[in-house]
Amino acid sequence: MNNFIDDFRNSEIARKMGSMLSSYRGRPVTIMEVCGTHTMAIFRYGIRALLPDGIRLISGPGCPVCVTPSYYVHAAVTLSQRDDVIITTFGDMMRIPATAGDGSRGESLLSRKAQGNDIRIVYSPLDSLKIAAENPGKKVVFLSVGFETTVPVIALSVLKANEAGLDNFSVLSANKTVPEALKVLSVDSEIGVDGYLYPGHVSAIIGTGFYDEIAERYGIPGIVAGFEPLDVMHAIISLASNINNKKIVVENQYCRVVTREGNPVALEKMNEVFEARDAVWRGIGCIPGSGLQVRDKYSKHDAWKVFDLRQEAGNEPKGCLCGEVLKGKRTPKDCGLFGKACTPENPVGSCMVSSEGTCAAYYKYGGI
């Protein structure tokens, strides 16, 4: 075994799988790739170009930045303008335009940074702790987006801040969980999902037990897949086959990282700091129990409470089809704004500017 990366990009096997994929002649199937990182991998490795007519891949709402409601960026941009605040964030959030309550397009964190506000890109929420320790006179806010892969790391940083007495550190949570959203997608007949490509890294944390419920209750099979080209192609081909053969099962094809029980240490930390609540998914609406908020015990690290911010859903930008795209009901090309009023340089909705956004993927990699 090499480095666990190149082995799963082996070109000989990749080509064999690629030609198997393009020569699929089974019944037409619709597969949803839940996770934005899968969407990107499918484009990046030219897998989309190899898809046969009989396999339709639709992108789901697994792009945490895309499903973050517009009021969140508005709150972050507003906070960033305070002199006593340092915003720390993943790079993914920087270019999203805030939307004001009336649906009009606002600024992004990138443009606020250009105007002198203290906004810093971090690779890890743990890096924000260092910034908080070095700037005791400022309030350091970490923009907490992400699903269950990232939430344990954020929980860890809250626990460490608490331990170290870093009272100036807080997180602004827009975190969400995948399982409840899957249920909503599974009952939506307009979407018509035949099978799910399950997110490999979320599963590394939460395990695979939950997906069995989706199979049993809704009759939709799935495969837990990694992100290298061999992982993705093998999963698509197997899933199409299972759907054709009416094998309503959940297969774990990412066993090197995913176990049935997931990561209990990570789950424990996640549950220690966060609790479930209802959450608004941009474009989908409210999904009960699908969001995470910081527990009262750690409320001094909860930026919503620290700054007394309200979470008010506003209007979506006019003409923006992000919502439909996020549910896989429409493709970016169906949107009147795609490529015209809405481009990566001038994005209207977050699907275009997020590094994993479906529209961004279509724009960047598509067009062949």
């Binding site: 666990f4 997110p199 093998h234 990570a266």
Partner: protein, 74 residues
């Protein structure tokens, strides 16, 4: 939604580990894992090791992929 990179643990420190990916090293937190040893491969996400990579499973999976036997029958 999750960029995760496999890296090899070359040094274990208190609460962190030094991991190496293609000749590049980074110190990451190991607090989300029960136990980590030098020589282990771990999945890195956002500055944290979030899972240990099961090398035996990796070999099995690659074997499965290279054989493509089960897929050939479709």
């Amino acid at each position: 939604m999750c960029l995760g990179v496999p890296g090899r643990v070359v040094k274990v420190l208190d609460k962190t580990g030094l991991v190496e990916i293609m000749g590049v090293s980074k110190e990451v937190s190991t607090e989300l894992l029960k136990e980590v040893k030098v020589g282990d491969y771990v999945l890195i996400h956002a500055g944290c090791a979030i899972q240990v990579i099961d090398e035996e499973e990796a070999v099995n999976t690659l074997q499965l992929f290279s054989e493509l036997k089960e897929l050939m029958n479709e």
